[in-house]
């Protein structure tokens, strides 16, 4: 059962990267996650949002759509969507160290999302945009 939902739309300004991860983290904080869990989610969201800004919209501007669903007060499902350029070879894009972003991109965004979250799926249409869906189950807290 979906116990809480956050929808968030922001323009692809790089100064919004920090806001996006903080907003998602404070939404998830209601579930009393561990510090490591919250940091994992923050980092994964940062990667997904940065990809919209750096890759999807490159020199242009567009909206970034973030949805956070809380399932049974325990599992966090995060969607990050853009209407940008799309990814034509998703398999290649998801390979660690692969980047089209030049010198200063490490090509590790997807690797971080994959390793810090439990599930990752990427859907994309060339010229239409990309949806990244990630999921993480929090540890059960005894309180």
């Amino acid at each position: 059962m979906i116990t809480n939902v956050l929808k968030l739309v922001i323009p692809s300004k790089s100064s919004n990267e920090s806001f996006a991860r903080v907003a998602v983290a404070s939404f998830v904080a209601q579930l009393d996650p561990t510090l490591e869990e919250i940091n994992d989610i923050k980092t994964a969201v940062s990667e997904a949002v940065t990809n919209c800004i750096v890759h999807a919209y490159k020199e242009s501007m567009g909206n970034i759509y973030i949805t956070v669903q809380v399932i049974d007060n325990l599992t966090v499902k995060i969607k990050v969507r853009d209407n940008g350029c799309g990814i034509d070879n998703i398999k290649q894009a998801m390979q660690p160290l692969f980047t089209t972003g030049g010198e200063e991109r490490a090509g590790l965004g997807f690797a971080v999302m994959e390793s810090f979250m439990d599930k990752l799926s990427v859907k994309s249409k060339d010229g239409k945009g990309t949806v990244v869906t990630m999921q993480k189950k929090l540890s059960i807290r005894i309180s």
Binding site: S14, S15, E17, S18, R21, L35, E36, N39, D40, K42, T43, S46, E47, T50, I53, V54, E103, E104, R105, A106, L108, G109, A111, V112, S115, F116
Partner: protein, 106 residues
Amino acid sequence: MPVKIDVNGELVTAYLEGEIDHHSARVMRNDIDSAIERNMPSMLILDFRDISFMDSSGIGLVMGRYKNLKKNNAELHITNTSPQIYKVMKLAGLERLAKIDKVGSK
């Protein structure tokens, strides 16, 4: 000022500050590169004690500086990484390029 530079002979220490993402990494990169150019250190220490968050843009930042230093056969040393930062560096295998000290270790 997201980077404070401390020069001690051939040892240059860059104290980074704030959060490292794609947005903030640009400025830090420029600051560190001009310090390398000016001082030609044989060892650069990147001190992360005042970095509260880092994503893979920080990996790009470190790798880029590593390559720059390599040209002069200089070494890179990374100190005071929080658990969050260390986890990202670990994933990237940065410990094969540089010595990494966690926060609190000496």
